[in-house]
Symmetry: D2
């Protein structure tokens, strides 16, 4: 009853494993809504700013989102060197869009998100994230299922970025982590284009999703690369997967990357530069071995399991 | 990241002692608001229905509020036998009002709550609690500080019920638990009237607030009685204090109480009857001894401490 | 990594309901052992002294055990008026034994506990609980399954006290909460004797175990009475069940009880006296109604479910 | 009371920030002891094996310790190329020792730990960690304060590895993170030798310790390098600091590193190889900038603050 301590009273608990829980102390609930697709909270935390939480799962927060969004967007963009047409799948916060729009080469970005209510809530409550990206004339926002959109579009892109929260979820999202979907994505990527996606945690107790996503991607794309993510508030380290039919360097020269970023992007990047990119692409031995040993390919007939 | 378990992800933690914490799993946040006086949440819990939470402190919930509100209202009412004028201090949920209005003898109830925003949120989101009590023509709702109201009123009451959350809080509420305030209340109570108030937890590690409130009341009223409360969701047992200048029985006859309730009240009481009242008024020995040993009187010069 | 706060780091979580958790901050682990029957911890808490924890379930603690053990032992003893032969089932801490031994009338106590390792650990680490009760020449300690013991004994008792932790557990303990077991107990009770047992929580969301135990007992004994327990550290209020074929008062006269306790017991009781007993036996209306409405009888063929 | 769920009941909570807590579910307490210096627990967790916990702070666990200990030991060893004399400060688990002993070049290792009771408990309960390293004839174990040992020793070393848990602790450990201590260490390092130490978390909300340790080291050693650590069970990413007066490459050639490891070490490394090392030494831009901006030097007169 009495609450004389300085510690917070509201907590969001993220179950990393059944025996490892990361708890975020919540100081305010800024928005709460039940959309047709999910339950949304936008909350204020003590140490990491405002956070978007969907179905009680942490999506991103203002305090470390640059570690996530810059790392998700720029590797594909800078390795492409001159991305003009970009497709973003998911990405409601608008932060992925914001990073894409830094590129002077970009002429058009289509962002496809299934949940217009979440996008609207982020537009209202998370200006630190989108920084008015949705108003940029190069942006087209499509509220639709990514699968439907991909089936119907006739366009192709230089870079496709999949900013979907989790490889494994209840609901139809599991389809987004199958060979069939990766083939569907490949059809809309230009021959020299790149595909970057969130690809699960890399902690020793949770490797399996990542190794299977990588294995599955290798059946579709000529080159697939794990990119480590330095974001901290998920409680567990994440990795992305970078895939292309184009050959790209596993150890890009930092100076070349720095020069390209300086020339082609606007504004000040907090995380990304040549040294950061080189580090992200060096995969620790235990993870490389687990990837090499992986045999399972996710398909619609053998999808990720809960 | 993955959240495959059925356990809830949002928790409200109530610090009972620094080493004893009661956590309520929250399934939805129904309302959240920062009023001029406090931060309000109305949440849905898994096992105990909807709850009002003020400044991150549990106030009451639909799943066990009858154990609180019936026990707070009816002892004073039934021992008075014919209450006509009733004053409620606090009580935003409207549940205290609801119980008062069961009494056919009641002609007028004034409810004074400092925070109109909290009352409005409860009116909107907690109909199970107030059950339209605010629309009863006998009710007058005053949004004001209880201290100011008591200073200015010229009326007197048969029963005064103080439904203020906690004896000890940050802010000016500590004044409501002093000898000076009890004298102020006594001035507006009819000579044969009763005063009932929430009077703190009775767990062995937290007895002090209760014993001091009782001790302080005995300096103002001729008879003071601890009444045990059976509510469970506070994580710690509570007690009320019943005070009067009129003599009242410490072991009221259950049959007499039952007859009086049957005659004078409307609707079905869930908790209160003669046996329940008799039990509430029998104070365990360790608590009686702690009350008897208490020396401290709360005054404005020596108020409850955080 | 840094742990600059005064809050504890080790917590024992008691799941009251899946959405209501009581957490005890642990300051030290005094003993830890895996016995053939269960996992034992004896821990030190911040606010409630030392606690015995079996299979991660709170059994009792030095800080409020008097609220449990005095309430478990004395109602049967004092209503019997002259108990000489007493049987204790379970009760490893020795605190139930301690309370039984206060009675000058007692000539012999047999305590039957299945787990000698737990008894030995309590003897070593919880002297505050047993207070050398195991050394009293009137005590006979039997390490055996209560069911086996009851089947084989030819003795009878004035009072049988069942201090078994929980009506519902994994393992064979469920048998101890069936009609068949209650009949087995009845066979070893003298015609004027009493049976007292722990009978589950009484919180609104958890009533069912209690009402079914009471219902089941009424098929075996002529009079059955709920006795409320004021212990606080279980996070949820408990009740005991008092059963006898002898008629006993539902509202015992406090003065008579006080006189009997003064005459027949040694040492200073912290909780129990006439007023406390009268209060314990007055059952709140909602609980009486739930008991009256209960239809289910626990039998070996229809035992308590997990 | 009832505990029917599969979730664990004992939790160790690590406070990362006051609003970010990482909880480890404990399935067994294998050892618990209060030594003259600290409180020790060796526990079993659900997902990450056995863990050493000192003063309620997570030290390391069998499930991901290779990510910590291989990364702590091998960078200095492999960059040195032919380490013969090695000094380990702290390192009670014996896992740091184990990694040092892989080096065929090593002739002698002195390990200095202040707490012999912790070392003994690890020897008994954590064979997975030390793998009999303490029995290697090249090892000399000294139970002493590292500061005293360094003051008194006349020896010098090729590599000094500081495996002390935390830059900032209660007690005298803060002295181990000052300029004066780093100068003391430098005196016992051969001119071509290396010093590697745990250097705090790198999460955005907790950068300050790391940047100050690096800044302080740069006042003592000619070259200082942050090395990222991939361990996950601390809840927050850590970094080490590698310091030397010898020039060493910031981007060591992976093939050269692989060849050196193959030639000079025994057994199978899980984490370390040329690619891993290259990645560990590429510091993300935001961290490099924070290091570059840091002005504070830790000295005995201006030590790390709680």
């Amino acid at each position: 009853m009495t609450d004389n301590l300085s510690q917070p009273s509201f907590w969001l608990q993220e179950t990393i494993t059944p025996w490892d829980i990361y708890s975020h102390g919540i100081t305010r609930v800024l928005a709460h809504q039940k959309t047709p697709f999910q339950e949304l909270h936008i909350v204020e935390t003590g140490a990491y700013g405002k956070a978007l939480v969907l179905d009680h799962k942490w999506q991103s927060c203002t305090g470390d989102e640059f570690l996530y969004h810059e790392a998700l967007v720029h590797p594909a963009m800078v390795l492409h060197a001159s991305p003009q047409q970009v497709l973003v799948l998911g990405g409601a916060e608008g932060a992925t869009l914001r990073e894409v729009l830094r590129w002077k080469t970009v002429e058009r970005v289509v962002m496809v998100d299934i949940d217009g209510d979440v996008v609207a809530a982020c537009q209202q409550h998370l200006p630190e994230m989108h920084q008015q990206a949705f108003s940029d004339p190069r942006v087209e926002l499509v509220i639709d299922d990514a699968l439907t959109f991909l089936d119907q579009t006739a366009e192709t892109w230089d870079v496709v970025i999949s900013d979907l929260s989790d490889p494994i979820e209840s609901g139809p999202a599991y389809k987004l982590f199958t060979q069939e979907h990766y083939q569907q994505v490949k059809r809309v990527i230009d021959p020299g284009g790149f595909y970057m996606l969130q690809a699960g945690p890399t902690a020793p107790a949770e490797l399996q999703q990542h190794t299977r996503v990588i294995k599955t991607l290798t059946t579709v794309f000529k080159q697939v690369q794990t990119c480590l993510c330095h974001a901290v508030t998920f409680g567990s380290p994440l990795a992305f997967a970078l895939a292309s039919d184009r050959t790209f360097p596993h150890r890009p020269d930092p100076a070349t990357i720095d020069a390209r970023l300086a020339e082609q992007t606007l504004g000040q990047l907090q995380l990304m530069d040549g040294e950061t990119l080189l580090g992200m692409m060096q995969v620790p031995k235990h993870l490389r071995r687990a990837i090499a040993a992986e045999q399972t390919i996710y398909t619609l007939g053998n999808p990720p399991q809960l």
